[in-house]
């Protein structure tokens, strides 16, 4: 559904690999986690605390909080504000966070 709009000279950049739940996802250095998930065809990143409805990144600029995920055990991280790193573990944020992660 989502397509990269990269300048032609950017095509042979190095690749970053991370895990999203049970999947391996590849991204470009400098990608946000949200961008990497969307370009990999992953559109659900969390479920809401009150009704458990599925949610996806929306504003991509840090204001809507729809893109929450767990990053390396850290709950409620905004995926559109976090840069991808090699080997990072990203998990779906299921409902409200627990107090101690």
């Amino acid at each position: 559904m989502f397509k990269r709009l990269s300048p032609p000279e950017a095509t042979n950049e190095a690749v970053v690999t991370f895990r999203f739940d049970e999947q391996t996802v590849t991204a470009r250095p400098g990608d946000t986690v949200a961008a990497a998930l969307l370009t990999s065809g992953i559109s659900i990143c969390r479920s809401t605390p009150v009704s458990n409805a599925p949610r996806a990144p929306y504003c991509m600029m840090g204001v809507c909080f729809e893109c929450l995920v767990e990053v390396d055990g850290n709950p409620n991280v905004q995926a559109c504000q976090a840069e991808v790193r090699d080997g990072m573990h990203v998990h779906t944020q299921q409902g409200a966070r627990r107090l101690t992660s």
Partner: protein, 372 residues
């Protein structure tokens, strides 16, 4: 010609509860609310329905709070059935945390006096650290103990406000936002309410404009010497349930956020926030629940309390302008049920509730005598 039985000036919690009470009893009511530019405690408060510790100087205030607390569940249910809006009212009891043996002992003395002054209607228990931990497993080691009362609870004040507004409309009342009242004058047996481009002629007028009552009250022979007092609040991200019952400064909302309150600041009409104050509030919260140290704060705000010089409510009928009343208080959430069910009938002609007799402005007019 009168266009309406009642005009309620101010659509915050106080005005809305009163207007809901009047409308539900079949009166024609119009609520005129200034809107978003005004100072509005009702949109920025902590949401406690609280009795514990209130009324040390005037025990009738404790009785008035208990009257309201005991009517709250029914009001909440009634509003839900009428409007579909749930106020999230819960009454699991509430605790006030103490951080030393001395503080705990003082608290017990104070609450004992209150229990006695109310003929033991107000009841409470003192909890040591272990008993408190049974109620709040995450409680911090530095909390020595707490006082607990079954009278206390909490609700979502914004849903309460919405439910009241919908309830007013349900009973045929009118809620008019964006309508600041500039002047009120008498015309024979009626009142003429002047707004920017409109006037409204009504039989009775109730001033429930919060801090705005200061300017309006003298126009109908009343006095409302109110002072703003700022409180700041922080809200965390939503979390799984961890705090089953409200405390004086911490509560978990129905959606899972933790509200951390609050401050008492004398800063005039400044409803902003200040980092050192917010930091103090956060530190106190983390001391009470150390696990909060890992959580994110998603919002903070300041709001101005509607305070009389002694902190107690002001309810008064005008003698010079019969049919005009003023109503304001510092605990508009707690007192919402009493305002709807007991105060509104008074404005419509019933006898005044016995609990409110001390709350006229005469108590602020101290007699000064010059020694000879």
């Amino acid at each position: 010609m009168q266009q309406c039985d009642f005009a309620v000036i101010g659509g915050g919690l106080v005005g809305s509860a009163i207007a809901y009470g009047l409308a539900s009893q079949g009166h024609q009511v119009s609520v005129l609310d200034e809107g978003d530019v005004a100072y509005r405690a009702s949109r920025g408060n902590f949401g406690l329905v609280w009795v514990q510790g209130k009324g040390q100087e005037i025990p009738l205030y404790s009785r008035w709070s208990m009257r309201s607390a005991s009517l709250w569940a029914a009001l909440s249910q009634e509003l839900f059935e009428l409007t579909g809006v749930a106020t999230q009212h819960h009454n699991p009891g509430g605790v006030h945390l103490c951080y030393s043996q001395a503080e705990l002992a003082n608290r017990e003395v104070e609450l004992n006096a209150l229990a006695q002054a109310t003929g033991r209607q107000f009841t409470f228990d003192m909890l040591d650290h272990d008993q408190l931990r049974d109620l709040i497993p995450e409680i911090g080691e530095s909390v020595t103990g707490a006082s607990w009362s079954s009278w206390d609870g909490h609700a979502n004040p914004l849903y309460l406000l919405r439910a009241l507004h919908n309830g007013i409309r349900h009973y045929g009342g009118e809620f008019v936002p964006g309508s600041k009242v500039n002047r009120i004058r008498r015309n024979g047996g009626s009142f003429v309410i002047e707004r920017d481009h409109q006037t409204l002629t009504v039989g009775r007028v109730i001033l429930a404009a919060g801090l705005g009552n200061r300017e309006l009250a003298p126009q109908v022979g009343l006095d409302a010497p109110l002072v703003p007092n700022r409180g700041e609040i922080l809200v965390t991200e939503r979390m799984r349930p961890l705090l089953d019952l409200p405390t004086t400064y911490l509560r978990q909302t129905g959606e899972g956020s933790i509200l951390m309150g609050d401050s008492h600041e004398d800063v005039g009409f400044d409803d902003g926030t200040e980092t050192p104050v917010l930091a103090q509030i956060a530190q106190r919260a983390v001391r009470a629940l150390p696990a909060l140290a890992n959580t994110r704060v998603v919002r903070s705000w300041g709001a101005l309390r509607v305070m009389t010089p002694d902190g107690y409510p002001l309810y008064q009928a005008s003698e010079s302008h019969p049919g005009a009343f003023v109503a304001c208080c510092h605990s508009g959430v707690t007192l919402a049920a009493a305002h709807a069910k007991c105060l509104a009938p008074w404005f419509a002609g019933a006898e005044a509730p016995s609990e409110i007799t001390p709350f006229t402005a005469e108590r602020f007019h101290v007699q000064t005598s010059i020694p000879a």
